[in-house]
């Protein structure tokens, strides 16, 4: 199962073999026992001070989010800056921003699993957790942006006395199903992958409460042969289910815009462009939180190595270039279509009142990540972290440009108006970061951040053939 070549001392290899040898996935010749001990110790040790120092402000911001939500629901959507041409603004911008971030986790866990990319094992757990938390942050917006939140259940195909069914032609309804399916499958996938590790924590637990907590979550896992067989099959099936979802969710989100008639939205390029952008932004966010986490738990650098970061940076520069291509293609099509409305829409994006958002987007998403062509910047973690902030910002600008700029000037000039965010817009957005990091902090404190049993399987010791030395 493991990389055969990694098990053999390089001295035994022929020059040809040495040329193609893959670097080991776990550094410093860490043993299985060390992995289980160290990863579990993050959960088992006394709560560190830094954790409280981070959690308290994050909880406060979550409280601000809660306050804004209560104010929004009790007062009306007008507490945001949305107006008449701009019916969607920061609400849907933030929704698409967060749902985009929620793409990297499942991509790493499912697509890289199916394509047998073994480097995924040490990052998939945290990345998937991040996915779930991002989708939770995202789900707040479509749920609450509606005018009558208490009637949002009309979106569910529940038989009702009015005899009115949902409108299945509406992309917004597709969105509801796409996002809820994605969240459900991602939760199942994540939880299934957690079970063997939860059993490890249960077996190591010393207090009654912990035994009960992890024992319940481990669902009676004993690590028996049959259980592993079932587990592997379930995990494979869930990976198979998740893979199309990674591509479909953001495609469906893009349909909200692509199927409309509005110039700047009505574009067939949107689905692939949105998916690439989502992976781009998602990987940047994974690195944004993994690099500090590994800096705190330094020995994790043996598991999440520079080579991992390097590979993720390559994904970022690749998807960032796809996004850049899409931006340029949009401009080309606006010109080539000879449609004056289309031309005007893109003219206003680049040179209209929101020009700063457009050029910020261009710089952050297209130009800044190109620095990852240089190995130095892919392998020096401080640089990686700094450069990753550009995609994080740029992807927010992208959604803002697509949504608010487009709506503020479409077909009828008499209706044109600017959008100005209010303090509720701003604090709700900041508050979702509070919620996101609160959930992530709770995750690293109570669940194993690294998938222990999968990382063990990529150790040289896990390979019964010892790199074919047994012949």
């Amino acid at each position: 199962m493991a990389d055969a070549s990694a098990a053999r001392p390089s001295a035994d290899l022929t020059p040809d073999e040495q040329a193609v040898i893959r670097p080991p996935l776990v550094l410093n010749q860490r043993k299985m026992g060390w992995i289980a001990n160290y990863v579990s110790s993050i959960v088992e040790d006394k709560t560190p001070v830094w954790w409280w120092a981070c959690l308290v402000p994050c909880l406060l911001l979550t409280g601000v989010l809660g306050f804004c939500i209560v104010y929004l629901i009790s007062t009306g959507v007008g507490v945001w800056g949305n107006n008449h041409p701009v019916g969607w603004a920061w609400d849907i911008t933030n929704f698409v921003f967060w749902i985009g971030i929620g793409h990297a986790g499942t991509l790493i866990s499912a697509i890289l699993f199916l394509t047998r990319q073994k480097w995924r094992t040490s990052i998939n757990r945290a990345a998937e957790a991040m996915t779930l938390f991002a989708v939770i942050c995202a789900a707040i917006y479509p749920g609450l942006h509606v005018g009558r939140v208490w009637m949002a259940w009309f979106l569910a195909p529940v038989p009702n006395a009015n005899g009115i069914w949902q409108n299945f032609r509406s992309p917004l309804l597709w969105d509801v199903f796409a996002v809820s399916t994605y969240f459900t499958v991602s939760v199942l996938f994540w939880y299934t992958g957690l079970i063997p590790d939860l059993a490890t924590l249960r077996d190591r637990a010393k207090t009654k409460i912990k035994k009960f907590f992890y024992g319940t979550l481990a669902l009676g896992w004993r690590g028996g042969n049959r259980q592993w067989r079932h587990y592997e099959m379930a995990y494979l099936l869930l990976a198979g289910l998740s893979t199309p979802l990674v591509l479909s969710v953001h495609s469906v989100v893009s349909f909200d815009f692509a199927t409309s008639v509005i110039p700047g939205w009505h574009t067939t390029i949107f689905p692939p462009y949105f998916v690439a952008g989502a992976i781009f932004g998602g990987f940047a966010m994974v690195l944004t939180i993994m690099i500090p986490a590994c800096a705190i738990y330094k020995p994790l650098h043996d598991l999440v190595t520079v080579s991992h970061v390097d590979k993720m940076c390559k994904v970022i520069v690749f998807t960032g270039s796809i996004v850049g291509y899409a931006y340029i293609m949009e401009l080309f099509m606006a010109w080539y279509s000879a449609n004056p409305f289309e031309k005007a829409a893109f003219w206003y994006r680049a040179f209209g009142p929101f020009w700063w958002a457009y050029w910020s987007m261009m710089f952050c998403n297209v130009i800044a990540p190109q620095i990852f062509w240089f190995k130095y910047f892919r392998t020096h973690l401080v640089w990686v972290w700094i450069i990753c902030q550009f995609p994080n910002m740029g992807m927010w600008y992208e959604r803002f440009v697509i949504i608010a700029t487009t709506l503020s000037r479409d077909f009828t000039p008499s209706a044109w108006a600017q959008f100005h965010p209010t303090w509720v817009d701003i604090w709700m957005f900041i508050g979702t970061f509070g919620l996101f990091f609160t959930l992530f902090l709770i995750f690293i404190r109570f669940l194993p951040m690294i998938c222990m049993f999968e990382v063990k399987a990529v150790l040289p010791e896990a390979d019964p053939h010892h790199g074919e030395n047994h012949g």
């Binding site: 104010y71 009790s74 007062t75 009115i164 909200d256 009828t412 008499s414």
Partner: protein, 391 residues
């Protein structure tokens, strides 16, 4: 002054009834954000309002239907199936831009008839006015002496309505007599319909405008709840008073349509109702229009005035290339300036000179000229940014 505006009346006393001297105007340096419903000045070359000179009309009476992109629309098909328009009456409207002078009487009449809430200056500044019919005002010609174009715009009741396909809960649907309906009780307020409306005529209740005072909209549940009795009495009992969080828009005065249809039933008694014509009635904006610019009626009846205007020479629909099949037809304005008056060459030229006969041969050039119009003129952009600073 917040809320009520400014009062210059104290300047006019009994001592100086008609003229007052000794009054000076000086620049204070203060700024005051104006509350207005439209910021754009020009049509940005979009041929939404169409006009021509009498000469052009005589040259080609159907010139209005061929302007802009309308001459270039490929055969269009709709991806969606649409409800069948089975009713004998198919409602439509014609708006005569020749006679409309932009007096806003229709706007006020609609406000009164349809219980359209008054939202206050603060909300108008935030672009949240609720008017179901609005007068779009554009300027054309020389900036020193511009021509004003006034165009009433209400829900176009598109047969292939973009708003209907995007509503996730089926709150906006089509009736068999061609009305684009809003089911307020079903609406959850996603605002997707408004985003997808090319005319931007849909209005969202961002606050509980009918139940809370306009000065306390941001107070949420702490604001006074309920409407004064005097205000309640001003409401039309035949029209729903909408709550916050729902979308609303012009209904073509559906209460008047239904009233007429009900009285037809009464009239028909036991006989076949389809043999009895719906009695004459007017919608609120039409009733108030002093120049008879708005004509409402059954477009299915070729003898009706609306059908004749709709199919007449000057008729055109806005944004035809979108294939939404609007039920509102605009009638182009025809000008006949005395050539001796200054600036006569600018009159009737809001859409530019006709690009006429050479069109077939030289399409590329003609397109280029249109594309240039699609972009804002440098002048317009400048005035815009000045206004924004002022805000």
């Amino acid at each position: 002054m917040e809320g009520v505006g400014f009062n210059a009346y104290p300047l006019r006393t009994t001592a100086a009834l008609r003229f007052r001297d000794g009054v000076a105007i000086r620049i204070t340096g203060d700024t005051y954000p104006l509350a207005r419903t439209q910021e754009a000045r020009s049509m940005h070359g979009r041929d939404l309002f169409r006009e021509g000179t009498l000469e052009r009309y005589e040259d080609d009476p159907k010139f209005a239907g061929k302007m802009g992109m309308d001459g270039h629309i490929p055969p269009n098909i709709s991806l969606y199936t649409h409800p069948e328009l089975t009713s004998k009456e198919q409602w439509g409207m014609a708006v005569d831009l020749n006679t409309c002078m932009g007096c806003n009487a229709c706007v006020v009449a609609c406000q009164a008839e349809n219980n359209v809430p008054v939202v206050g200056k603060e909300q108008v500044r935030k672009n949240r006015d609720m008017a179901w019919i609005r007068i779009d005002r554009y300027f054309a010609g020389e900036p020193e002496d511009p021509e004003m174009l006034a165009q009433p715009v209400m829900c176009q009741h598109c047969e292939n309505a973009p708003c209907e396909t995007v509503c996730p809960v089926n709150a906006t649907v089509h009736s068999e007599d061609g009305l684009n309906l809003m089911a307020y009780n079903r609406c959850i307020g996603t605002r997707y319909c408004a985003n997808n409306c090319p005319w931007k005529v849909r209005r969202f209740n961002y606050f509980d405008y009918n139940a809370r005072p306009t000065t306390e909209l941001y107070w949420g549940p702490l604001a006074k709840k309920g409407m004064a009795d005097s205000l309640k009495m001003s409401k039309n009992p035949n029209v729903t008073v909408r709550m916050r969080g729902v979308m609303e828009k012009c209904t073509f005065c559906i209460q008047r349509i239904e009233e007429a249809k009900i009285s037809r039933l009464v009239e028909a008694g036991p006989t076949d109702k389809n043999k009895v014509p719906v009695r004459e009635f007017k919608v609120a904006c039409q009733q108030a229009c002093p120049s008879d610019s708005l004509v409402f009626g059954n477009i299915n009846d070729p003898e009706s005035r609306v059908a004749r205007l709709r199919n007449g020479d000057r008729g055109y629909v806005m944004l035809k290339y979108l294939n939404t099949a609007p039920r509102v037809t605009y009638l182009a304005r025809i000008k006949n300036p005395n050539p001796k008056i200054p600036g006569a060459d600018q009159v009737g030229q809001a859409n530019g000179a006709p690009h006429g006969a050479g069109h077939g041969e030289e399409p590329a050039e003609a397109h280029g000229a249109e594309a240039a119009q699609g972009r804002p003129a440098g002048h317009d952009e400048k005035t815009h940014s000045a206004e924004e600073v002022h805000h």
